[in-house]
Amino acid sequence: MSATETPTNPLVRMMGQVWGSIFRHGLPTSDKVAARTALTNFFLHIHPVRVKKSAIRVSYTLCLGGLSFFLFIVLTISGLFLMFYYIPSVDQAYQNIKDLQFVATFGLVIRNLHRWAAHAMVITVWLHMARVFYQGAYKPPREFNWTIGTLLLLTTLLLSFSGYLLPWDQLAVWAITVGTNMAKYAPIAGPYTRYIMLGGRNVGQGALIRFYVLHVIALPLIGFLLMVVHFWRVRKDGFTGGL
């Protein structure tokens, strides 16, 4: 709202007050206004007010970290929709997926989106790691943030892996069988690890509910916490900037 003209209509004036109370500063027409907006906005506060031009060149970051976070949000929202229809039971899960595909409005597109975004996120997170490595952006003072990033990559893989079982089709069950079989080769702990992961000796109801709880609650929470620390440290250490 421009401050020069005060509308006479009380309704318009109130609307102006409501708008002004939410968006305290107008469009970023000048650097000063833009800086104030960034400083006072909760969501924009994830970024510093000013950044080095070289650090935000698309050819430098390739947007990979941001895209990974964006895909995490897409997956969270599409996953919420899927949860309305999905029951983690060996008797019902497969039928629920069929219903999503053929009965629920837009169910098919949402499931497809969730699946492809999950694959895309594994790729973007891995490429983000490669980008950071090749640019040496893990060097002091950012050593520990690289470590957190590594844990985030592992969390992403586990999120994708745990979600793989949920449709309860032949692809799901056998991929998880092969995947968890790898765990049993570890000396001493191996067989126990597999038993704990599956909640039994085979991929069955015990495995399904474990993977479901890990997929929709535990791993997203762990991922979220790691992301908060990851972003906070990026914010405090600043962007590395061009080579």
Binding site: A34, N41, C63, V74, G136, K139, L151
Partner: protein
């Protein structure tokens, strides 16, 4: 070498160090060596400030960065939406533990591990290699003592990572496209060779 360490190749932890170099007191050099007092830091620090002028330039995050992030997000969302409209996520027959598909494959990002299991004893492929890779990745910044960020100064690091990256991608490609029945090699699989058990 000393200049590289001191200047961190001009690419050290940004933001503060360059500012710190500017606010350093004039170095203890015999006054005769310097023409004008106050130009001291500039005379001594050239190797420290090797970054180009435009790299020091800053812009306001909002809207410069936010706009790019918005476009990138919109782009990938549109792409994913298009794929989701035209390509359905796979859904095979209902799970049946009595029928083992052939080949039984792990999800694509674990196919590298499955490939290793095919070639090495399980204790190596299933335990030693993954543990080595994960530990190595976590410890990378603590093992790599080279302060430079320029690729030409980091030949060993770049070579090692590239080796890992090429192997990782190659194993996934092989696992997805060239591994057929019983996980054996099949050149024709990539062309849609049906194999014995076409449903998988």
């Amino acid at each position: 070498m000393a200049t590289v360490i001191g200047g961190n190749g001009g690419n050290g932890p940004e933001g503060r160090p360059p500012a710190r170099t500017r606010t350093l007191p004039p170095p203890q050099v015999p006054s005769g060596a310097r023409g004008v007092a106050g130009t001291g830091p500039e005379l001594v620090t050239p190797p420290l400030v090797v970054r180009r002028r435009e790299e020091e330039e800053t812009v306001v995050t909002f809207p410069a960065l936010i706009f790019r992030e918005f476009l990138a997000g919109l782009g990938i969302f549109a792409l994913l939406m298009l794929i989701s409209i035209f390509v359905n996520a796979p859904l095979l027959q209902r799970a049946n533990t009595a029928i083992t598909p052939n080949p039984a494959k792990a999800p694509w990002y674990f196919l590298g591990l499955q490939e290793l299991l095919q070639r090495f004893p399980p204790i190596m492929a299933g335990v030693a290699f993954p543990t080595f890779v994960i530990t190595g990745m976590i410890l990378t910044p603590y093992l790599d003592k080279n302060p430079s960020r320029r690729p030409q100064d980091r030949k060993v690091a770049v070579t090692l990572f590239t080796l890992y990256a090429v192997l990782a991608v190659a194993f996934v490609v092989v696992g997805v496209f060239f591994r057929a029945e019983a996980f054996t090699w099949d050149w024709l699989k990539v062309l849609g060779h049906p194999g014995v058990n076409p449903e998988v």
